[in-house]
């Protein structure tokens, strides 16, 4: 069995944070969080865990490291949260470094392991609380911390300035009018049925996704709008950092932006973690039991449009594809059937990854792990050999991936393991196949 100390990775965010810690400060913060922000759930998890290890095979890290128990969910909980609980916060700064590295980079909070635990222990929750403690100790990996700073400052994750957002939409509208002459991306249209929200990488470097979404909305005749003011980014690295205070601020901006425009619902692009933020965590921190404005993930939205006959394609995608099931909208929302119905509508042949649906392996990018940046890329690559094997076994070249993080994660895996495959958003395929006006 390896140990986390054997694979310590240098990161300025972790190193600088730990440098200012004292045992007294650690003890104080740990106990503050344990007492003030956790409750019976965490205690029950600790006291009822039998250390049976059945969760182990739920973890792609464990599976990818030849069943090394160090990567088992139960071990991760034991070496971090249970240690903090047992010692009542009396641990060293060096231990905090390693706990932070484990919590931020060796657990994607994907919750797959919870399906394998005979008593349903949610290790994703446990590791989230370890992250929360590390955030309160100011020990967070550099790159994801920077992203959370962007969120707090601009209400989006990539330091996109207010004008750059609007300009990106107008640029894509202009581009799209070459193909669809009367297409609009309606800004601030009060009373629209749909508020379409995206994540900041779209205006920053995946602008084709905005173009494609606008084309699909246009062709389907959807009454939609996009806001000109902050709140447009549904993503949330504050959530994964453990900065719940600004997670709440972000979600307020998002929901209030939609409420102000009097829309019926928010449709979000193909992003998994953002769904978790708006549907589960951010909304609840604000005191809402549900989302104050209904949230519809792109998978479900495309499924609706297909059911209503509003998406018309000229032909099916001919090459065989496989499907990546994003954790947050499978285990978090149960969209596995709708995803398949959408993909089967669009594609001639689907070769399933095994296991799949709610048992699919995580992409290893989610939970903010890819956002921890270059220092931890190898952690992700070596930690998801099982996904590479899963992908390779399908024998196909195209992977339908309805999630931004999964895209980044799988493209990295595909390159690292030289799989010769390529990821596609559902929007990529719909746009490619949809009927377009003859000019």
């Amino acid at each position: 069995m390896s140990r986390i100390a054997d694979r310590k990775v240098a990161d300025p965010g972790l190193a600088n944070g730990v440098a200012s810690l004292t045992p007294e400060k650690i003890e104080k913060v740990v106990n503050q969080v344990l007492k003030g922000e956790t409750g019976a759930k965490l205690k029950v998890y600790q006291e009822t865990c039998m250390r049976c290890g059945l969760c182990s095979q739920g973890c792609h890290f464990y599976m990818s490291h030849d069943f090394d128990p160090s990567y088992s969910p139960v071990n991760k909980a034991t070496e971090t949260m249970y240690e903090l609980m047992n010692k009542k916060g009396k641990v060293t700064p060096d231990q905090i470094y390693l706990m932070a590295q484990m919590a931020f980079t060796e657990c994607n909070l994907c919750k797959r392991c919870a399906h394998y635990c005979p008593i349903g222990i949610d290790t994703g929750y446990i590791m989230s609380m370890v992250r929360r403690i590390c955030y309160m100790l100011d020990v967070v990996p550099q790159y994801i911390r920077d992203t959370s700073h962007s969120h707090a400052s601009t209400m989006n994750q990539m330091w996109v300035k207010d004008d750059e957002w609007i300009d990106s939409l107008q640029w894509q509208e202009d581009e799209a009018r070459d193909e669809f002459p009367d297409l609009r991306i309606p800004l601030d249209k009060e009373g629209a049925d749909v508020y379409y929200s995206v994540i900041a990488p779209e205006p920053k470097f995946r602008t084709q996704l905005i173009y494609q979404a606008a084309a699909i909305m246009h062709a389907a005749g959807v009454d939609y709008t996009m806001p000109s003011e902050p709140g447009w980014d549904n993503s949330d690295m504050c959530m994964f950092v453990g900065d719940y205070e600004n997670m709440g601020r972000l979600k307020r901006a998002h929901f209030e932006s939609a409420q102000k425009l009097r829309v019926k619902r928010i449709v979000m692009g193909e992003c998994g973690h953002a769904f978790r933020s708006v549907y589960d965590m951010g909304n609840r921190w604000l005191g809402y039991k549900n989302s104050p404005v209904p949230i519809v993930h792109a998978i479900e939205f495309y499924w609706e449009l297909i059911q209503q006959g509003k998406i018309k394609i000229t032909h099916k995608y001919e090459k065989p594809v496989t499907i990546q099931d994003p954790c947050n909208v499978m285990r978090g929302r149960g969209l596995m059937d709708k995803l398949r119905e959408v993909v089967h509508f669009l594609c001639e042949e689907v070769v399933e990854m095994i296991p799949n649906r709610e048992h699919n392996y995580c992409c290893c990018a989610g939970g903010g792990v890819i956002n921890c940046g270059p220092p931890f890329k190898n952690t992700r690559m070596e930690g998801n050999r099982i996904k590479a094997e899963q992908l390779k076994a399908t024998g196909v070249h195209d992977v339908v991936i309805p999630c931004h993080n999964c895209h980044g994660g799988l493209e990295d895996i595909i390159g690292y393991y030289d799989l010769g495959m390529h990821g596609k958003f559902i929007g990529d395929i719909i746009y490619e196949l949809m009927e377009k006006p003859e000019l």
Partner: protein
């Protein structure tokens, strides 16, 4: 033109007979109406890549490559953000206001509409542009700007220190502050949110993050001594200059006044603080328990609760309030003085009190039709489209601006008719 000078003669006027696009126009976008209801306007495509603005049955002479952000000022001027030859300018009633620049957005007005402002970007520097004049000093970034009630002052949050890529330690030293009329506060903070003026426009309060885990309110750059787990938007008392803000302590929300707890933290949420003009009562939207929202006055919550409450409106004398309750964006109710009006709707807009505070009006939507309500009773017919109602100065009449049968109509109705 002041509200008292509008046409308040009871009756209906068809302002525009047909709202169909004018012949030759490629398309016509969604309509906007002037506060007095005399003008309806829309962006129109007059030729491929050529845009203008239709007002009633005429079209601005000037055309542009792109137009967005159509807004009427409170005094009835029509503004639009227009691009020509890759440069942007605010156009007011068809004429450019000020010089063109790289980008403008977020048009705002003084309360009476006499002052018009936008955000401004020129040569990659940011500021506010007031009546066509940008601030003398511009910054690396400015956002969240606001105007004082009389429009004499503008404030925003400025980035006053450059930040290298992923420079998290630099961020923690503070790179943001408030800038008022182009002049920055001396202190820097990790974050600053939502600067707000007092009634005189001489003082500014904002939410600040002085250190990684601390949040508080700064008034004219002086942070309160106390810090909190989180804070929301501060407001000034309309008369005595004190400042209140929602604050989070040990996971519960309350209200602090000038750095001291005013409402003991006991709520699952507390936001949207408001005073009436006399400042006699303090109102807020609160969640007395998880998932149950309502309105509180001086820390006393209404009995009625909803999963979501928005759009708190306080009567001018500060003694009454209205809000919108809903069930996760469905089943909207108008709630006044703690009681929900009878109707349940698909959408609702903020209620409005008449100047005397006696009558309350609101617009709602049901089955695709807009309905105007006064004191909970609907106008005699509903509309394909409408805008929120406006009371006359004496509160005896209400102005309805609506579209029916493809015509834009202006109706002045006696409140007694409801």
């Amino acid at each position: 033109m002041g509200i008292s000078k509008w046409d308040w003669e009871t009756g209906q006027k068809t302002v525009v007979e047909s709202l169909s696009p004018i012949e030759g126009h490629g398309w016509q976008e969604e309509p906007y109406v002037s506060p007095d209801g005399e003008t309806v306007a829309a962006i129109v495509q007059v030729d491929e890549g050529v845009f203008s603005v239709r007002t009633n049955d005429t079209v601005w002479e000037n055309t542009f490559d792109k137009i967005w952000g159509l807004k009427f000022s409170p005094d009835g001027r029509l503004t639009a953000i227009c691009q020509q030859d890759m440069e942007w300018v605010l156009v007011v009633d068809g004429e450019p206001m000020g010089e063109t620049t790289d980008y403008i957005w977020e048009t705002k007005f003084s309360e009476d509409g006499s002052v018009i402002a936008t955000m401004y970007k020129g040569m990659e520097r940011y500021g506010v542009c007031v009546d066509g004049e940008p601030w003398e000093e511009l910054f690396e970034n400015v956002n969240q700007y606001t105007l004082s009630a009389d429009g004499a002052h503008a404030a925003g949050v400025a980035q006053v220190q450059s930040l290298g890529q992923a420079d998290i330690e630099g961020f923690k030293k503070g790179i943001y502050t408030v800038v008022v009329d182009g002049v920055r506060w001396p202190n820097k903070y990790l974050n600053v949110w939502g600067p707000a003026f007092d009634a005189t426009g001489e003082h500014v309060a904002a939410q600040v993050r002085p250190s990684v885990h601390a949040y508080t309110i700064a008034v004219d750059d002086k942070p309160w001594a106390a810090t909190y787990g989180q804070v929301w938007e501060p407001i000034f008392h309309p008369k005595d200059g004190s400042v209140v803000a929602p604050v989070r302590v040990a996971g519960k929300w309350g209200v602090a006044k000038d750095g001291n707890i005013l409402w003991e933290p006991r709520y699952a949420q507390c936001l949207y603080l408001q005073y009436g003009k006399p400042g006699n009562k303090l109102w807020a939207v609160v969640a007395p328990s998880y998932g149950e929202f309502t309105v509180a006055c001086d820390n006393a919550a209404w009995d009625v609760t909803f999963p979501v409450v928005t759009d708190l409106v306080v009567s001018p004398d500060g003694t009454r309030a209205a809000a919108i309750g809903n069930e996760d964006n469905t089943n909207f109710r108008i709630v006044v003085d703690g009681k929900a009006w009878d109707g349940v709707y698909d959408m609702a807009w903020p209620a409005t009190f008449c100047p005397g505070g006696k009558n309350v009006a609101a617009m709602v939507e049901k089955d695709g039709k807009r309905i105007i309500l006064v004191n909970g009773k609907p106008f005699e017919r509903s509309f394909d489209m409408a805008w929120p109602p406006i009371f006359s100065e004496d509160g005896a009449k209400v102005l309805i601006r609506a579209i029916e049968n493809n015509s834009y109509v202006r109706i002045v109705a006696d409140v007694a008719r409801f």
